[in-house]
Symmetry: C2
Subunit: 655 residues, 2 copies
């Protein structure tokens, strides 16, 4: 195992037009909007979905904290993990300060830190659900309680807020939480030999270790990962002790999921493929990757590799979305990738980005950055509308308003983004990913700086090294680098050659150069004062197919250009979309339309379309070669779908 030292990167400023738009949207729309919702001040409606849980107000998330802090009277409202909406929002706000200082917002967030500190119990515990309405049940039903998950999200936020602002109180709250957990969990006499039903604390403690360098936090994270599944009956035993009746459940129905669902049926080192809730899996994997790197635990690293391989090679949609079924928002089985009943939770794509990011710290392999890029430009980004105020929880690859309305098996598939959700985990999760995208661009290893993404940026490293990347990515594949090396440091600069770019051209200081691609990277020696690189990636539009083990994609093609996966929408094409047939060698035409959908690359694909049969025709007739007409199918980036009128959408097209 190749262990990299901590990055010596000092500062990254994202200059990409594409990402600046999104990052400013986070500041101007997303954060203010979400704060309003969480304070129950927004005039919105909650999506009718199975996660709704009967919730009929905005959120109550801030109110819960105020009640726990003694500033308000009342009961807890919402899910046991309602607090995390606030924490993820706080974390996003913290990141935003790095590129958009904002004193008004900082007043709010400083006050929020004070509120959280006030809500925290003396022993460091903080979960408003239990503090307000069930103090006697703390840590007693971990399958469902999300207590460590909840505190984990605060710890992440606290670390980010401390890093961004230097606010010691924010970090102190996190440390006190971690200490509380450390005092309550472990194999020592009197402690709980268990773990949370929803992984998160493992990665959070790792981040706390990074900032504090206090090894007890790493050890605690390690404990949670190795203890998981050692006693497969742990959750059931807790439930029995806490009162077995169904009306004691914290979240109805959650006891019905299997041990595998909770990744607790056996120790992780023995689990062959990831099962269960997609978000649980990728959060767990992220924690494993952190801890494997810092501890050298080979079992955990092997599990990371194994799970990664299964997800990416057998259970991931072409858009990067994961989790194929609405039942438990879960993985199903290898090569089962239905497009119209897909779950593809936004949070799962965000979590997959975390996992990929951590794997880049372990192995210098381009495939991690490939997947990360896939999420950033497709499956994760699709979770938010262009106005920053509407969100998808579920990201289908095929949508039809008639189906979502008429077939209960597809009722979870919204065809327009919602204002908010009863379980509102996704909106702020995506906000924190966008606001921290600068942290996903480089890793360093010994004498090598690796550039993973083509998100234009200005970066400053130790020794006065500066790297400036400019481009119009993802619309253009012309990538320009300027490297300044004022002190004549000697280092290598690695650039990822994406898997979607079958070929590339490179000029170094104006001269063509051919370099071998090693594990997805080309490496240049930098030893002069400056270096100019011009990389030309293959941006031709590709007609893609799935491995033919995927029954749902057999006989279908998808369209991809660069990292961007395309979708056909009824807004541009006469429905039904399934009548269009695209051949593997179809002619395509690309243009950038700055007026459309805040500026997107549009692909026109030559297609054949059958004439729609009459609705009075027989349902079944003898087949013959059907007449078709030649038409152009207009496709837009998947992330931008459902920003116009409600209608059908499809990523996969009949062949």
């Amino acid at each position: 195992m190749q262990v990299y030292t901590a990055p010596k990167l000092n500062k990254v400023k994202v200059t990409s037009d594409f990402w600046k738009r999104y990052r400013e949207l986070v500041v101007k729309e997303v954060l203010p909007y979400q704060w309003k919702v969480m304070n129950d001040e927004a005039d919105i409606s909650i999506a009718e979905d199975p996660q709704n849980n009967g919730q009929d107000k905005n959120s109550h998330a801030v109110a819960n904290l105020k009640i726990a802090a003694g500033e308000m009277k009342g009961h807890h409202y919402g899910f046991p993990f309602q607090d995390t909406d606030v924490y993820k929002w706080l974390e996003a706000a913290a990141y935003s300060f790095g590129y958009h200082p904002n004193p008004d917002l900082k007043k709010i967030t400083d006050n929020l830190i004070d509120l959280i500190a006030k809500a925290q119990d003396d022993d460091g515990y903080l979960s408003t659900y239990f503090q307000i309405d069930a103090p006697e049940r703390k840590f007693k039903r971990l399958q469902q309680s999300h207590e460590l998950y909840t505190m984990g999200h605060y710890i992440e936020a606290g670390v980010a807020y401390y890093n961004a602002t230097g606010n010691e109180k924010a970090l102190d709250i996190a440390k006190r939480m971690a200490d509380c957990i450390d005092n309550n969990f472990g194999l020592e006499e009197g402690k709980i030999p268990g773990y949370d039903g929803h992984p998160e604390i493992e990665l959070a403690l790792s981040r706390l270790y990074e900032v504090t360098q206090d090894k007890k936090y790493l050890d605690l994270a390690h404990y949670f990962l190795t203890q998981r599944g050692q006693d497969p009956a742990f959750f059931e035993k807790q439930i029995k002790a806490d009162g077995d009746s169904v009306d004691r459940d914290l979240i109805p129905g959650m006891r019905d999921f299997t041990r595998e669902y909770y990744l607790a049926a056996e120790p992780i080192k023995d689990q062959k493929v990831p099962h269960g809730h997609a978000v649980r899996v990728v959060y767990l994997c992220t924690g494993m990757a952190y801890v494997a790197r810092y501890t050298g635990d080979k079992d955990l690293l092997a599990a990371c590799d194994r799970f990664w391989n299964d997800i990416v090679k057998r259970q991931m949609y072409i858009t990067g979305n994961i989790g194929q079924t609405t039942t438990g928002e879960a993985f199903t089985y290898d090569y089962d990738l239905p497009n119209d009943t897909d779950y593809g939770e936004t949070c799962a794509s965000v979590g997959m980005s975390f996992f990929a990011r951590q794997m880049l710290n372990i192995h210098a392999k381009g495939e991690y950055a490939d997947v990360l890029e896939k999420e950033l430009f497709n499956g994760a980004l699709s979770g938010m509308s262009l106005d920053g105020k509407h969100f998808f929880y579920v990201n289908p690859l095929e949508a039809d308003p008639a189906a979502s309305k008429g077939n209960p098996g597809k009722s979870h598939v919204l065809t327009h983004r919602a204002d908010w959700f009863g379980c509102a985990c996704c909106p702020a999760n995506l906000a924190r990913l966008i606001a921290s995208v600068d942290e996903y661009l480089y890793t360093e290893s010994g004498d090598t700086i690796l550039s993973h993404q083509f998100i234009a940026n200005d970066a400053e490293f130790d020794d006065g090294i500066k790297v400036s990347q400019t481009n119009h990515f993802p619309w253009s594949g012309d990538i320009h680098y300027e490297i300044e090396n004022p002190n004549d440091a000697s280092f290598k600069f690695g650039i990822r050659i994406p898997s979607w770019s079958a070929s590339y051209e490179l000029k170094v200081n104006g001269g063509a150069k051919t370099l071998p691609v090693k594990d997805g990277f080309i490496y240049l020696d930098v030893d002069g004062k400056s270096l100019t690189l011009d990389l030309k990636l293959d941006m031709s539009t590709k007609i893609m197919r799935a491995n033919n083990r995927v029954s749902h994609d057999f006989g279908k093609v998808a369209v991809q250009r660069g990292p961007v996966v395309y979708a056909a929408e009824q807004a541009d094409n006469e429905a039904p979309l399934w009548l269009y047939q695209v051949s593997p060698d179809a002619k395509t035409d690309y243009h950038f339309d700055e007026k459309l959908l805040d500026g997107v690359g549009v692909v026109k694909v030559a297609a054949k379309r059958e004439k729609l049969d009459s609705d009075e025709a027989n349902l079944y007739t003898e087949a013959k070669s059907e007449e078709t007409e030649n038409v152009d199918l207009t496709m837009i980036p998947y992330y931008a779908w459902a920003n116009r009128e409600n209608g059908q959408m499809s990523v996969w097209l009949n062949r």
Copy 2:
């Protein structure tokens, strides 16, 4: 509206090898097996499915009757409609006496009639669930109680038993039930202005009217049909009055279905398309067709026509199966026909056969007999294994054991028939259809005898007229008729030309004759003493396609020969089945294999198959024209699938 007089048919003896096998199976295996199960004496396991309701014994259905009759102590067990399993079985037994006298069985059924009579309340009421455990709640939660449904099933059985055996007690129980219902329901002061959540009583009362000619039963049936939906809040009001809390529900979750689901949102005459539970719909339609015919109610007839048209043209699988979603076993919407999440309940196909049969009494149109034939040879018949002791509740058109196990959205799709079900409505329902198939072969109208099916039989009519049909259908399309007309009666003989037979050849007394097809029939004048007809139907194997409004079948073909729809099974073909591609003009080869699956016609279809991609290959790659190899795909009749080793099955093949 053309109203036919009652059939003057006296007797039909089924001589078809195909159907004799099934009908003897009913006598030798199905009836004894089901009696054993209903008496809790079978060593079986109940299918794990959502209908299971936690049931862990065989059935308890006979025991419930014994408890209600005071012959046993204990509580009711099973669904509120558990009694109907016994009644449908009794009805099947009654039909079986018509072709297989069976004194031993008759002792059992006579005793059963005595038991039922003993269980019946003095006022005629009989529903053991309420009699045993909730007498104070009779008729108080009709949305869920199934009381009229339950008594309706007895009435059908009682009528059949009386017709078969002359047992007056059997008919008397039925009349007393109907009188009880008549005393309790109606718009008169003090009566309940409502109806049952599950239609059935309407068709049952019509059958009681047929045998008794007592018009009050027809009026009562008519009342239930016209009153339905007049007060859309009827069920909710009852629930409120009976105690609104969820734990008072008779069947958990049933209150969550919409008024449309119960066909009670508006009067039937105003309902444009059928919604909700497929079985409820077709039972209602059957009742409407009976009552429309006997009363001349044009609104009801229009509803029959409208619902028929929507089901057959827009919501029926090629196998005749109906009900596209497991959620409520229900219809979804026009042209939504997913093959792998299909419900296609066996009972719904049985009910659709009832509906078709009654429509044949109204309109002399071949399409009703076409659909009936489709059910008899495909969608309904598929509900039972060749051994008569295993049953499908759900009949998918595409099955994969990996999917049923691994994707919760397909967990309702069994890939092997079960011993029995918690909700065991289907097994005996199919038994009564098979045992009464002789009643589906002819209708009479004025001077015309219509022959609907090519199920070989000897039939005797008034005036000494005899019709003998011989053939090896469905494997051969050579149909031979001998008509004896000893008294030189003058009448017309109509023969259905099935929609699947684009052409036909006819010889009358050896001489070729061409006749026009009118609404699916050809008509011959019979005026001599005898007539020999030789009809040659088009039995060529057809490659079929669906109306291209059906997204799930687009780019796919199915194989049909005569009325028999074919399926590819993994037992004959290397999986995965989706890799096979069949063109509309594929060469096919047919042979009869008497050793296979108790004798079936086998179709070999020339196909191309892609080589299976490696499971280490990338999930997504650039599409190109893939290499294929030429292979023969072996297909067997759909009704006979899942009688060998567990594996994939598919009706629709990629094109």
